[in-house]
């Protein structure tokens, strides 16, 4: 099984950033090396490490508040971790050269942009900064809105604004796209349009995408790998197909007098509020059945249930 399961609590104390930087494998677009980050008294991550290989489309998934946006801010050098290092395209995220920044297309949360500009002005503004600028990709996307090119971005809907912002990132023609919650505020149509464009863009090859989204089902057609970020900084990184194949959901029945099964090495997450109650596991049915028979003989394991990716995401991360 190709599951890489990293627990946050490493034994190595890397306070004050004294740990040596590991050499970056040549195929890595992003390497997060044992970072610890705190907000006041709250520790968001402890010794979190993660590698994104070049040419892959990787989704960072997690519930609200686990620190997805913070991780992207750390990656882009807008925050400095208490300890550890982030490297992007081979450079420390706090020392990204202008040339490297030109190779990174960055979408900030909420489709942040200079909305006091018009469609044409913002393209004219960005163009000179990027040598490989492809204005046709930008206009191809934004012209579909049927708006005048003098239309102010501030007067656009959320979806229209996202077209502009994503169009700019496509036009930049970056090697690495980091997209923070690209789907925020987008209806199904706009999301699908973006996915189509992104798929076509990725078809050119050689591109890496690292993205976060709340719309888990979109990931099914888009990503090669998923990274699940849990509270406390625990992460689970694996190819999507592997996850879809190995993560299972089973129905079970529970007598009124019995205690529900607790999460352990085999049972990833029991959900007693679902009808029927179900439990999630990376183990196969036989192994789960044996495990239950030994630990909770009163519980009768049912059939394996089919799951959408969203079901699996909830199964993995829990509802609350």
């Amino acid at each position: 099984m190709l599951v890489v399961f990293r627990l946050a609590c490493s034994q190595i104390d890397t306070e004050h950033g004294m740990s040596p930087v590991r050499p970056l494998p040549p195929e890595s677009a992003i390497e997060i090396d044992a970072i610890t980050h705190r907000y006041g008294q709250r520790t968001l991550y402890r010794n979190l490490s993660l590698t994104i290989t070049k040419g892959r489309v990787v989704a960072l998934l997690g519930k609200n508040g686990v620190g997805k946006t913070t991780l992207i801010r750390l990656l882009m050098g807008f925050l400095r971790p208490s300890s550890g290092h982030c490297r992007v395209l081979g450079q420390d995220s706090h020392a990204l050269s202008p040339a490297t920044r030109a190779r990174i297309g960055l979408l900030f949360e909420g489709h942040l942009t200079q909305d006091y500009m018009s469609i044409a002005q913002i393209e004219r503004y960005h163009r000179p900064f990027y040598p490989g600028w492809r204005a046709e990709l930008y206009y191809d996307l934004v012209d579909r809105m049927g708006l005048s090119r003098n239309h102010k971005i501030a007067q656009m809907s959320c979806g229209q604004r996202s077209q502009v912002v994503l169009g700019l990132i496509f036009a930049q023609n970056p090697e690495l796209m980091i997209l923070d919650d690209y789907s925020m505020g987008l209806d199904a149509g706009y999301r699908r349009l973006f996915l189509d464009y992104l798929a076509a863009y990725l078809g050119e090859g050689g591109k890496t995408v690292f993205l976060t989204s709340h719309v888990v089902q979109d990931m099914e057609v888009l990503v090669d790998e998923v990274v699940f970020l849990q509270r406390g900084g625990e992460i689970l990184q694996m190819p999507l197909a592997e996850f879809r194949h190995s993560f299972r959901c089973f129905a079970f029945s529970l007598p009124a007098s019995a205690q529900p099964p607790a999460a352990d090495a085999i049972i990833h997450n029991p959900d007693v509020f679902a009808r029927p109650p179900r439990l999630y596991s990376f183990a196969e049915r036989d192994q789960v059945a044996r495990h239950l028979a030994a630990r909770c003989p009163e519980i009768a394991l049912g059939e394996e249930l089919p799951m959408t990716l969203e079901d699996a995401f909830i199964g993995l991360t829990g509802k609350y």
Binding site: G17, R80, H94
Partner: protein, 418 residues
């Protein structure tokens, strides 16, 4: 690197602003109630007497140069020409002194005060070089401003104030008059008192290109020019003109060599004043005239001097004392101990604002030492290495608490390399 320069720039700016503002705040918080000592020459006992404020209340001492104390009334009776109105109220007029009788009219006729301050020196105050040349013979009791103004320069140009335009006729007339009197243009300096609230108008004193001094008046609309006779070799630095009724003196003339003269009204020769230790750069001078004596009193913020003179300005006696205000106050001592320097913004002897660096001397080591202890404690609290913070420590040693405050306002970031 640029961030480090940015932070130190802010620290430098803050330090400069603290060095300017803190002394001003101190002056506002700890106001200075001591005035200067009032020193006189008593024609009654022929000794110097003075009045001085002690402490912060209304406690004055009235004392003579020998240390004898007087009541206020006694003191005022020692200088009856100053307090002649009280003398009149107390029925002590006319006075009999030195075998002469002085009634109120005689006293008033002789009373005169001439003053000369550092601010009267050229370049101690900004001055637009335009001067209204009054009609010296107005034919009425009050002087009035003319509708034109004089611009001394390569010529004596007159500008009409209603039209804001050069008056060619007046310009030609007055320039020619100066030419005819031997004046060599351009005008190097112009001295006079611009006011219509004066007893008469003496016009202006113009220094020509050769250093000769001319008096220029407008009399009945026409130019009146006089070459002022100066002693051989005298180079004029400044004049202070005071037009007073009945006075034979038009004011002061300060020579380049620092000698002060009294300027007469007509062709009288200049009267040199013998004023030991007088420094026109920083001392205020008054000459008090009374029917018997002339007393020159001059002081900076430390010492006051008085020279009593005969009516012909022959010195009789000189007295000097350190004023009560010169005694250091606790707050000043504390301030000087806590801060190694300050930047003086307003100087009493100039209208110009300046940034004059004042070092507070060796006692500032106390403040720098205390600030250094606090700085070391702060570094220890931050677990910061001393060697890496040597610039900070040097700053605190050199600038004391001001440097410490400036640095702590803009400390280095814990996690940001600067």
């Amino acid at each position: 690197m640029t961030a480090r320069i940015a932070r130190w720039s802010l620290i430098a700016l803050t330090l400069a602003l603290l060095a300017i503002w803190l002394p001003q705040v101190k002056a506002l918080l700890f106001e200075y109630r001591f005035g200067k000592t009032q020193l006189f020459y008593s024609p009654v006992i022929e000794r110097f007497v003075y009045k001085e404020l002690l402490g912060t209340g209304h406690q004055f001492v009235y004392r003579d140069q020998d240390g004898r104390d007087y009541s206020r009334e006694e003191f005022e009776q020692l200088i009856p020409f100053i307090y002649y109105k009280n003398m009149e109220l107390w029925g002590q007029l006319p006075l009999e002194l030195a075998g002469q009788r002085f009634d109120k009219a005689a006293i008033r006729a002789e009373r005169l005060v001439l003053e000369f301050e550092p601010r009267d020196l050229p370049a101690r105050a900004p001055r637009i070089q335009l001067f209204p040349l009054l009609e010296s013979n107005p034919g009425r009791s009050r002087l009035r401003f003319p509708e034109n103004i004089m611009r001394p320069g390569q010529a004596l140009t007159f500008i009409d104030s209603d039209a804001n335009r050069r008056d060619p006729t007046l310009t030609a007339t007055f320039t020619r008059a100066l030419d005819d009197a031997g004046f060599v243009f351009p005008v190097r300096a112009t001295f006079g008192r611009v006011s219509i609230l004066k007893a008469f108008d003496a016009g202006y004193f113009l220094l020509d290109d050769t250093g000769a001094l001319f008096q220029l008046k407008r009399v009945d609309g026409a130019p009146w020019v006089r070459l002022v006779p100066l002693p051989e070799g005298l180079k004029v630095r400044a004049l202070k003109i005071s037009e007073n009724t009945g006075s034979a003196h038009l004011g002061f003339l300060l020579a380049e060599d620092g000698q002060l003269y009294l300027l007469g009204r007509d062709d009288d020769p200049l009267i040199p004043l013998e004023l030991p230790a007088f420094d026109p750069e920083r001392m205020e001078l008054k000459i008090l005239f009374n029917p018997l004596y002339r007393t020159a009193i001059y002081s900076d913020r430390q010492d006051i001097h008085a020279v009593a003179m005969q009516r012909d300005f022959t010195p009789i006696a000189h007295y000097q004392r350190r004023m009560a205000m010169a005694e250091p106050r606790l707050v000043d001592t504390l301030w000087d101990s806590l801060t190694p320097f300050s930047l003086q913004w307003r100087l009493p002897e100039s209208r110009y604002l300046q940034l004059r660096l004042c070092w507070h001397g060796a006692k500032a080591c106390i403040g720098s030492g205390l600030a250094l202890v606090l700085a070391l404690a702060w570094l220890r609290w931050r677990r910061a290495p001393l060697l890496a913070n040597r610039a900070f420590l040097a700053l605190v040693v050199l600038t004391g608490f001001m440097g410490l405050i400036a640095f702590l306002l803009f400390p280095p970031e814990e996690n940001v390399s600067q």
